[in-house]
């Protein structure tokens, strides 16, 4: 199989270039990450991040034939050759397919991705939740922060420093929707901002690429609905 991979080592290369590789691998039954690791065995200078190899850790998000996805859950048999691999766009490249996630994680941090509850925790009882309330977190808690959605979002490309991005906003709504959280209004205050939330123009690239099949646009819509309810 033929591959064309983005290479860039800031220490030695003046600019990025695409390098071609050919690999003898059976497409059926193999994932893209398997192929990348075999290429790395041939050429150990190739840099890539990976960990769990099963779509849970979110480390190997990359641009695969023009579309963001996780290499470890992308079947080789579904890809057209030459398979073109680039780092996630919109974030600085550290080396080859590895990007600097600081900006992305800073936005995640900014939405306070943890329960805010001022009640004293009970001695022997957890903070209980009804099955109905728990069900409201479905489609939200599954996000693995791979950044495929945020780096596919044009609004993030144009304002990466100010727009929270689909992943951050999905996480923001995950805590807004949680019946155990007591900071709904503070969270809405923080998000009601022309840049932090309203750069989203419902382009829906996020929904298109999410490897976990989540829907950040819908979560953003629900945040907007709450803001409307609060204001009118």
């Amino acid at each position: 199989m033929r591959f064309s991979i983005y290479r860039y080592n800031p220490d030695t290369d003046s600019k990025p270039y695409m390098q071609d590789y050919t690999l003898d691998i059976e497409p059926e039954g193999n994932m893209l990450l398997d192929a990348i690791l075999l290429i790395k065995a041939q050429d150990e200078t190739l840099s890539v991040r990976y960990s769990c190899r099963e779509g849970v850790c979110g480390s190997d998000g990359m641009n695969i034939n023009g579309r963001n996805g996780l290499a470890c859950v992308t079947p080789l048999s579904e890809l057209k050759q030459p398979i073109t691999l680039r780092p996630l766009s919109g974030l600085p490249v550290i080396r080859d397919l590895v990007v600097d996630m600081s900006q992305f994680l800073e936005h995640y941090r900014s939405v306070k991705p943890y329960l805010i509850n001022h009640d004293e925790p009970g001695q022997d009882v957890e903070r209980l939740q009804s099955p109905e309330d728990r069900a409201k977190l479905d489609g939200l808690y599954e996000c693995i922060l791979c950044a495929c959605c945020t780096t596919a979002c044009p609004s993030f490309w144009w304002n990466p420093d100010k727009f929270v991005g689909p992943a951050g906003l999905l996480q923001a709504y995950r805590f807004i929707a949680d019946s155990r959280d007591q900071a709904l209004n503070e969270r809405l205050d923080d998000l009601e901002d022309p840049y932090r939330l309203f750069r989203c123009h419902s382009i829906m690239n996020c929904v298109d690429v999410c490897p976990k099949g989540l829907n950040p646009t819908q979560a953003i819509g629900k945040i907007k609905s709450l803001l409307v309810k609060r204001t009118i």
Partner: protein
């Protein structure tokens, strides 16, 4: 490197809502006008004059045009926020768009209520 940028202006939902409400007004006006003209085709100047002689049509047209201008302002502001990052240039563009739209609004009133 994460840059430190000032953000958190605490507005946006009203603009977002106004953009949607004005879109509804424009859709209703478009349907009304299309329906009316299909039902009662206007073929000459006298026909147009008679149609716009009616106060409800003039008022509805003005509301439509004001909705259009408001919608255009919010849309243009969004585009400038997305693509124009130099603050002074963005401010200048905002001013140009506002001036143009206010002028259009005055012009619209003159057209609708001016001498026929």
């Amino acid at each position: 490197m994460v840059s430190r940028v000032p953000s958190g202006d605490r507005y946006g939902i009203k603009d977002w809502l106004v953009q949607r409400l004005t879109a509804v007004v424009m859709a209703v006006y478009t349907l009304f006008m299309t329906g009316y003209l299909l039902w009662q085709p206007v073929s000459n100047f006298a026909g147009w004059q008679e149609l716009f002689h009616s106060l409800p049509v003039r008022l509805f047209s003005l509301i439509f045009l004001l909705s259009l201008f408001l919608h255009a302002w919010l849309g243009m502001r969004d585009i400038f926020m997305d693509y124009v990052h130099a603050t002074l240039i963005r401010l200048g563009l905002y001013a140009l768009v506002i001036l143009a739209l206010v002028a259009y609004a005055a012009w619209a009133v003159r057209i609708l209520w001016g001498p026929a």
